[in-house]
Amino acid sequence: MLVTGAAGMGKSAVVQALYEPLTARRGYFIAGKFEQFRRTPFSAVVAAFKALVTELLGESAERLNRLRNDLADALSPNGRLITDVIPQVELITGPQPPVEELGAAETVNRFDAVFRNFVRVFARPQHPVVLLLDDLQWADAASLNLMRGLLTDEHQSLLLLGAYRDNEVDANHPLTAMLARLAEDGGTLPGVALKPLSTDDVWQLIRDTTSASMVEAAGLADLVVRNTGGNPLFVQELLKTRADDGLMRFDRTAGKWTWDDLAEIRAKGFTESVLDLMVARLGRLDDGTRTTLQAAA
């Protein structure tokens, strides 16, 4: 399944909603995110399975033993292909011998097959796996091919979720090509496209959170939507900031939120978009904080 929408549209929140029903069924929920400034092959896939292996290492010795045997059956003699990319797997399987050198086409097919077998070891009816690959707009070509391989595999116990920003993926993007090839092979991928909140939605949200009257809420909703484009993350952030600034206050006697006239809220510099405002704050940080953020970025 694909979940699409611009940044802040709530893709992660939608996906997280699957988490609880799944853990109730003793399934695994694993996730990895591709990154804009760290383009390495399979980064999100590696992160997801690394987390899974770490979780499994806490299981009983008996289960680990069974898992070790299952992995040996599924991967032998090509286990090294997996441990070279996801070294943590070695913690279960032990070191793997080098693989035979093959021609180019065979190499591609072999990796596809070995990876599918690898996933099948974990994704079983008694413990299904949800694999979330987030920010596919930054995925490398090899990861997309791997995804296509998993999607064309008849697999009852694996739910592959892909999330990406459709507004950052155009006709020339590798993801578009991958999805087109998948469709050619008869693969269909249901999608959920997340749209911005409408003024009505935000109006409802403000009434529910603040207990304001319909008229009071309408004016604020209109202002919020104009300044956020209805992006849920920004709506939340804007309201939070207004509360922090004291422009919106909780009136204990009346038992509801109140705010002064909208002119004041507007005058607090909301003519710029929310993000521009935040980026500008970066420049005002002191050196130590800024250098730390730069290193983290």
Binding site: T40, V108, Q294
Partner: protein, 181 residues
Amino acid sequence: MAVVAALRDTSSEELWAQLLPAVQDGLIVAASERSAECSFFHDRIQQAAYESLEPQQRSRTHLAIGRLLREAEDTDPFEVVFQLNQGRALIEDPAERLQLSERNLEAGRKATASAANVAAMGYFDIGLELLPEEPWSACYDLTLGLHRSAGETAWVLADLDRSDALVAAAVANAETALEKR
């Protein structure tokens, strides 16, 4: 955050104190108070922070991260090479350059085996770039390995001219009849 603390040479307490203004400003979000898990509020904030570094300073930061991760266990195998490569222009020690060239050959071979040929070509190219002068006499095995692997991968990627040139260089410099084949 552990990497950032090591990089900034501060304790986690000091790091948290430095981050606090950014948390209060809403630029980054901490999983919980004093948490070691922080994320940028939005990619555009991360992008702005990243791009506010001068290119030279950016390379230096990548290099420092790469050198830190090189010593650490449990890192994504391609990540160390990626970080070091981003800062490779600043590596002056010939031995360290040679070692990074080897790492690129190794990463490229892993990438080839896992069908990541575009990425593999990138590693081989950087490996070749990092070779010293007169590479065939200075480090024969590494030079041959890089030419061979790069030549094969260029062929897979249908860059036939490049492939021919690499293979021709390998043949011209190969020492034994077996390697010339």
